[in-house]
């Protein structure tokens, strides 16, 4: 990721920028503007609340993993931290410790229409227990960021489009974000992908979505936390291999034996 950015800066200086790099530079420049307006303009989504386009108004189901993290849930929830107190800080502190977004990006995000100081998107936990680290490793993405979203009752992650370009600015199509539900859906757990309202998931369900185009949001009006493992990174050949396995074995159990025993015996 850093290599790509360095290359872009260098090529900009020495005038050897490739078309892809020029495009990437434009993306970075756009991010200095208003986030919602910028991402909306770049998105191919229809933004018509009365249309259901199966290409965009959906979440993509990839399979499911037999849940074996129940013993960890209480600790995960307890250790999760509300990412902020005030609205500005929410977006500022949601990133991986030591890897915050640029000041320009954060300033743009803070201008999203309708936000106010009482918005609490989610709790996050960066402490990934061994069993979930193992799950994360199965996805075999490069430059992996794994974090656990613990959306507590009352929290709202308002409508936005992700900006994951910094993972691979010259080839954003290689970037993926996977969600693994760690708890079952409950009434009051809300999740939207475009105009599609996703409900009824089971712990272990694995999903992905078109992060470059699809606006999405979540809220918890329920009676208990919604817990999700989120994995972001650059897809590799091993990623695709694992996704094939996941799709073909429902729910996916093959991996459990060795590592599961290993970490529990520590």
């Amino acid at each position: 990721m850093k290599k790509n950015k360095d290359r872009i800066i260098t090529s900009h200086i020495d005038g050897t920028m490739t078309p892809d790099e020029k495009k990437a530079t434009l993306v970075l420049q756009e991010q200095a503007n208003n986030n919602w307006d910028t991402t909306r303009r770049r998105s191919k989504y229809h933004f018509d609340p009365y249309m259901q386009d199966p290409l965009y108004d959906t979440v993509i189901q990839l399979g499911s993993i037999v849940p074996c993290w129940q013993d960890n849930l209480e600790q995960i929830i307890l250790e999760s931290k509300r990412v902020t107190w005030q609205q500005l800080a929410h977006w500022r502190t949601r990133n991986e410790p030591g890897k915050s977004k640029s000041k320009k990006d954060l300033a743009a995000e803070e201008h999203i229409t309708g936000r106010d100081e009482t918005l609490y998107p989610t709790n996050l936990s960066w402490k990934i227990p061994p069993i979930l680290q193992y799950v994360s490793d199965l996805f075999a993405v490069d430059d992996c960021m794994a974090r656990i979203h613990v959306q507590m009752p009352s929290q709202v992650f308002n409508m936005h489009i992700d900006q994951l370009y910094s993972w691979n600015i010259t080839n954003p199509d290689s970037i993926s974000r996977f969600q693994i539900a760690l708890t079952d859906w409950e009434p009051g757990h809300f999740c939207s992908y475009g105009n599609y309202l996703y409900t009824g998931w089971r712990a272990g369900d694995v999903t992905i979505f078109d992060w470059q185009n699809v606006p999405h949001s979540t809220a918890n009006a329920g009676r208990s936390p919604r817990v999700t493992l989120q994995i972001t990174g650059i897809e590799t050949e091993q990623t695709r291999e694992f996704l094939r396995k996941l799709k073909n074995s429902k729910p996916f159990v093959n991996w459990i034996s060795k590592p599961y025993v290993d970490w529990r015996s520590i």
Binding site: T113, G114, T118, Y120, A221
Partner: protein
């Protein structure tokens, strides 16, 4: 300490199974729609709305008994919301055009209020306790919602396991308040504005609902 959730769940006939879709309960009942004619009022309604908690959601001067409020706050604390959690904005000033709408429902002991759920606000899952309108025959108590704005992505509304979306300004709905747990949240970019009418059904109510379903959308101009 009493829990409002436990009490209302106990008396509800709802299945409380997140895997079942029972058309009797996991639904909202569509009654028809009005031709919207309140657009000019919306800005004022929104700017004049005030934030409300469970304790302050009731009509000024008509609060519920302290025991009810305490039971609700017990749930809020237990579930992590905190008792001072803002659930929505409310506006009790009903402009004449919406008072006309409310009057058409012809309910006795009418309570009319406007919900302005701002982005970021969540009204947590609960069951209504409207029996106080008519303790001897709660079946006669009804609650109607008239949407004043179109649905937008991020506007969430659940009735049991059913998620209501895609409404248009003017749409009129009701639901089985005694049995169906429901919740709302606004993760969108604009407020969700809803006129809510609660009261005891009368014969005129029935007559109007018949007209509403028969003249869809119902044009207020038609009764001038």
């Amino acid at each position: 300490m009493n829990s409002s959730w436990d009490t209302t769940q106990h008396r509800s006939k709802y299945h409380f199974n997140p895997r079942i879709q029972d058309p009797l309960y996991d639904t909202v009942i569509q009654l028809g729609s009005f031709v919207p004619c309140w657009q000019d009022e919306l800005d004022k309604i929104i700017s004049g709305s005030k934030s409300a908690t469970w304790r302050t959601r009731n009509e000024p001067g008509k609060s519920r008994p302290e025991s009810d409020l305490a039971a609700e706050e017990f749930d809020l604390e237990r579930e992590g919301y905190g008792k001072d959690y803002t659930i929505t904005n409310l506006n009790w000033k009903i402009p004449p055009i919406l008072q006309r709408v409310s009057d058409l429902f012809a309910v006795a002991d009418c309570m009319t209020r406007i919900h302005v759920q701002m982005p970021g606000q969540v009204w947590n899952l609960h069951l209504d306790k409207l029996e106080k309108w008519n303790p001897d025959n709660p079946e006669l108590v009804s609650r109607y919602q008239i949407q004043l704005t179109d649905w937008e992505p991020g506007h969430f509304w659940s009735y049991g396991n059913y998620i209501h979306s895609g409404w248009r300004a003017g749409d009129v709905t009701t639901f089985d308040w005694k049995n169906v747990p429901h919740s709302t949240a606004n993760a969108g970019h604009g407020p969700r504005v809803t006129l809510q009418v609660t009261g005891i059904e009368t014969e005129q109510t029935q007559a109007f609902l018949f007209k509403l379903s028969d003249n869809n959308p119902f044009d207020l101009q038609s009764i001038v």
